[in-house]
């Protein structure tokens, strides 16, 4: 039964192109519609228009019917009776969506009381019941806690509890898991699933993550430049996408299930033109007719699979539209053991002291941000540091970048111990160690032109940039000479990140440290930047230390991977080994939590979601730090379990094979030395 019917919905801001243009869909009770698209595709404008909360200067036309009742054009007061009761919303950022000054139990109780007129006591009891339903341990006690006392995942559970408080008919969830780690994302999606089953609500799930949609949604709608360009059942669309944009999106995803050499196809960013199909400039199968009228959705498959494309004959074979590029030619390299070590880290420690009190400051504790990690990076290889947020991966990177004496341990760059460096030598060494940051919008000085930004490394070292070097660097990272005169705000995200990379390469470094370089970019842009990084490494023989949380990205770009948990490396080894047969239960859990962008595989997977959140970093558990969340620990006998409680596991090799260098810090690894091949 259709409970939410949207027809010809258009959101237009004061002037210019509409943010959402003629979108329509139906969602039945208990059905999940996944809405995907890049940033700027109009996903959030659509969500806000549906719940009647568009920005004040926006004009919404069309129709949104909830159980046959028209919502568009109703006054705010009338809508308020529907919102929160029949139509609920889950926002992306649960911290700003909850009031910081009231306990969460009261906030949920308020949602109940506003619409049902329940007594205060009944509403409170209902709030506790709801918190219990979304899996918050000790619900009665936690209902009295304030939002800041919850972790991000727990706050999102509270939001879901509030959304289902009045048994809604439909829930609109706008990127509910975008701000969360994969392990927590998996938990929250499970809660959302349980909430759907408990209420039978229709869910509109807005996300940029095709993996989330694959596992959770029944139908999918792909948006591009404000229009729904393709929609249909999830399995059908993933298997036989017919709109070139959907094809490009699916082909550009880095996937963990593919063989090691497969590369995603980059889709080039181009501005949408006026009139005709908006995807035309990026489309490889564009024909003259594309420039005419807006393409109407046409039926291209069973169960209402439609694509808004005039040239669907050409899109029957996805590989013909966006062919997967040939594997990057790998230069012949000496075996790893014989290549020179570029970066060596041994027992690196970074503790942050915590102080209390203003007048008499006393030490209240220590955050063990990085607590004794060791690895080496050799020439022309990529080591990725992965882990949940707060595991210390970025701190480790910054510690290395300081090129100064660490609190404890040793860092050696190109054979030079950073603790022994004099100022002059340190500055000279900086030429060989460069960095690329995560946020391409924050890492470029907004007041400098691109040419000046790229030439800055020369100026910083008192050199004159050789003639034509800036142009050469722009060319190297795939930018045009005209970009040299622009300011950063005149560039797109992907272009800015390329400028950041060009700046890092200006002095021909030997080691590049990358802090989540593609995390802030759209998937189709990500693929291009990763291609660039891979090509540069092959051509210039640079070593990369790559910090990331996205395991699919790491699988694609890294040779070796180090998994961090609470300041320690729990497992390290080549990507093939670690992804193929993870030894540490935490690695296994991380890999399990990554949603695969393939509905059939994703639904078939059996996984044990990791329980809870990482423990308080000031007081790690005794023995093995992962013990409190470890699925393997709970299944152990008393004798084996005691080892986990009493002894801090040290990294040890997981295979007797000479070629293998997989190490894990676990007393009871999933693969034992000798059992492997």
């Amino acid at each position: 039964m259709t409970v939410l019917a949207v027809r010809n919905l258009t959101v237009r801001y004061a002037q210019g192109v509409p943010a959402v243009c003629g979108v329509g869909f139906d969602v039945g009770a208990g059905e999940v519609l996944g809405v995907v698209g890049e940033s700027g595709a109009g996903k959030t404008a659509l969500a806000l228009a549906m719940v009647g909360l568009p920005p004040p200067h926006a004009r919404v036309t069309g129709s949104v019917r909830l159980r046959g009742e028209e919502l568009v054009g109703r006054s705010d007061a009338e809508l308020s009776r529907v919102r929160g009761r029949d139509l609920a919303m889950v926002f992306q950022d649960p911290l700003s969506a909850l009031t910081p000054v009231h306990p969460v139990g009261d906030q949920i109780a308020e949602a109940v009381r506003v619409h049902s007129g329940a007594t205060r006591a009944a509403a409170r009891a209902r709030a506790v019941e709801l918190l219990d339903l979304v899996g918050i341990p000790g619900a009665a006690r936690r209902a009295r806690a304030h939002p800041h006392e919850f972790s991000g995942g727990m706050r999102q559970r509270v939001m879901i509890a509030m959304a289902i408080a009045n048994d809604p008919v439909a829930i609109v969830a706008d990127e509910p898991t975008a701000a969360l780690d994969v392990t927590v994302q998996a938990q929250v999606l499970d809660v959302l699933k349980a909430a759907k089953e408990a209420t039978g609500a229709a869910i509109v799930l807005i996300t940029h993550d095709l993996g989330v949609v694959a596992g959770f949604a029944d139908r999918i709608m792909v948006m591009y430049a404000g229009r729904a360009v393709e929609s249909g059942p999830v399995e059908e669309v993933y298997r036989r996408p017919r709109m070139p944009y959907t094809i490009g999106l699916l082909q550009s995803l880095p996937r963990m299930d593919a063989a090691g050499t497969a590369r995603p196809a980059p889709v080039d960013a181009a501005p949408p033109p006026a009139g005709g199909c908006a995807f035309r400039p990026r489309c490889p199968v564009a024909v003259d007719a594309c420039a005419g009228a807006d393409p109407e959705p046409v039926l291209v498959g069973p169960a209402g699979h439609t694509a808004a494309c005039v040239n669907t004959e050409a899109t029957a074979d996805p590989d013909a539209v966006f062919p997967l590029p040939d594997p990057m030619p790998q230069p012949a390299l000496a075996p790893r053991r014989e290549r020179p070590v570029v970066l060596e880290v041994d027992g690196l420690v970074r503790h942050h002291p915590l102080y209390r009190g203003t007048l008499l400051r006393r030490r209240a504790g220590t955050v063990h941000a990085v607590d004794g990690i060791g690895f080496d990076v050799r020439e022309a290889e990529t080591l990725a540091l992965v882990g949940e947020s707060g595991c210390g991966k970025t701190t480790a990177l910054m510690e290395i970048l300081r090129l100064a004496r660490p609190q404890r341990g040793r860092v050696a760059v190109l054979g030079q111990d950073t603790a022994a460096l004099r100022r002059r030598r340190r500055k000279a060494l900086r030429r060989d160690v460069q960095v690329v940051f995560q946020d391409p919008f924050a890492s470029l000085d907004p007041r400098m032109r691109v040419a000046d930004i790229i030439a800055e490394p020369f100026a910083a070292h008192g050199l004159r940039a050789p003639r034509g070097r800036v142009r050469e660097l722009l060319d190297l990272v795939g930018l045009e000479p005209v970009h040299a005169g622009r300011y950063p705000h005149g560039l797109s995200g992907g272009q800015r990140q390329r400028v950041g990379i060009a700046r890092a390469l200006a002095l021909e470094p030997r080691l590049l440290l990358l802090d989540e370089p593609v995390a802030a970019l759209d998937v189709s842009v990500q693929a291009g930047v990763m291609d660039l990084l891979e090509g540069l490494r092959a051509r210039l023989g640079i070593a990369y230390l790559f910090v990331a949380h996205d395991l699919a990205v790491v699988h694609r770009i890294a040779d070796r991977v180090a998994v961090m948990y609470m300041g320690r490396i729990v497992e390290i080894g080549s990507v093939d080994e670690v992804y193929g047969r993870p030894a540490h239960p935490y690695t296994r859990a991380l890999l399990d939590a990554v949603p695969l962008p393939d509905p059939r595989l994703e639904r078939r997977r059996r996984r044990v979601p990791l329980r809870g959140d990482p423990p308080d970093p000031t007081a790690p558990p005794s023995g093995c730090r992962f013990r409190s969340r470890c699925p393997r620990y709970t299944a152990l006998g008393a004798v084996d379990a005691r080892r986990c409680e009493e002894h801090d596991p040290m990294p040890r090799p997981m295979s007797t094979d000479r070629e293998s260098d997989q190490w894990a810090a676990c007393h009871h690894p999933l693969v034992e030395a000798g059992s492997g091949t």
Partner: protein
């Protein structure tokens, strides 16, 4: 930001114009701000009159016309004369000159000091930061007006400018330090540091431009504060000493007879108002031009 939207501006720009790829250069942007232009013109006019006027006037500021005591405006003395037969116009111009010089040099000195101490403390952090901020706070709690009143006579006429500057910089230094601390953690500042750029270079290239609007507003406020403080001090007898004059001494001398003979008083007061107005207009205009937030709506983009 939106990838597609950001890129739309790019191809629309006429090709073949390499340099003006971004916003226009600073002087042109200033020229577009009405307030800044008005303030600049007024200030220039004041300077021209204060420095050029005495050359044209037949009376010097220390000349005495024994034929005219306490007279109203006439062809001979455009703004009349004082009780002692001095030409009011010449005196006012002389006073304006003193006040302008004092105001501008105090502003430059104090804002410069605030910028220097604030950026160094904020950027260096640690012990240096604590020492500098401790000293700043110490100066803040001293009763400054009293201090000037006591010290100004000791130091003589030349001491007034450094003294006023030394007492005006502390609050802005704290503000500058706060902004610098947050700028220091910006990724592009981190990037420059990890590039190998020296702290001085990072401050000059990346931190100061972001502070420009703050410093300009601070300087313009300081001009007004200094002019008014100087006038106040001179009025009380602690500032400029006779026989030299400033706008403050002129107001003080003229006020007794303001009811019967308003010329000396009114002329000096009007000049004071004009100076403060010009500087505030210029400061407001410059802030609009320099502030990136205000720059979003710049016409041509």
């Amino acid at each position: 930001m939106i990838t597609g939207l950001a890129a739309t501006t790019a191809p629309g720009r006429p090709a073949g114009a390499p340099a003006p790829g971004g916003p226009p250069r600073l002087p042109r942007r200033i020229a577009r701000s009405r307030r800044a232009v008005a303030g600049l013109v007024l200030l220039a006019a004041l300077f021209a009159v204060a420095f050029g006027g005495p050359l044209l006037s037949r009376w010097g500021w220390d000349d005495t016309d024994f034929a005219a005591f306490r007279q109203g405006p006439s062809a001979r003395h455009w703004l009349g004369t004082t009780q002692s037969g001095r030409d009011v116009l010449a005196l006012t111009l002389r006073g304006t000159r003193r006040s302008l010089l004092i105001g501008l040099s105090v502003a430059v000195l104090s804002t410069g000091l605030a910028g220097l101490v604030g950026t160094v403390a904020g950027f260096a952090g640690g012990r240096l930061d604590r020492v500098l901020m401790w000293a700043t706070d110490l100066l803040l709690v001293l009763p400054s007006f009293l201090l000037v009143a006591v010290l100004a006579p000791q130091l003589g006429g030349g001491g007034l400018v450094p003294l006023l500057a030394a007492l005006l910089w502390m609050v802005s230094a704290r503000a500058v330090r706060g902004t610098t601390v947050s700028l220091r953690e910006r990724e592009y500042v981190l990037a420059a540091r990890f590039l190998g750029a020296s702290p001085a270079r990072v401050i000059v290239r990346h931190v100061l431009p972001q502070l420009a609007s703050l410093l300009v507003v601070d300087a313009s406020v300081n001009v007004s504060v200094a002019v008014i403080a100087e006038s106040g001090l001179s009025y009380l007898g602690f500032g400029v000493r006779p026989p030299d004059v400033s706008l403050g001494t002129l107001v003080a001398a003229g006020q007794g007879a303001a009811a019967t003979c308003p010329w000396p008083f009114a002329a000096a007061a009007a000049m004071l108002v004009l100076i403060v107005l010009a500087v505030n207009l210029l400061g407001d205009g410059l802030r609009d031009v320099l502030d990136p937030a205000a720059g979003q709506g710049r016409g041509d983009r």
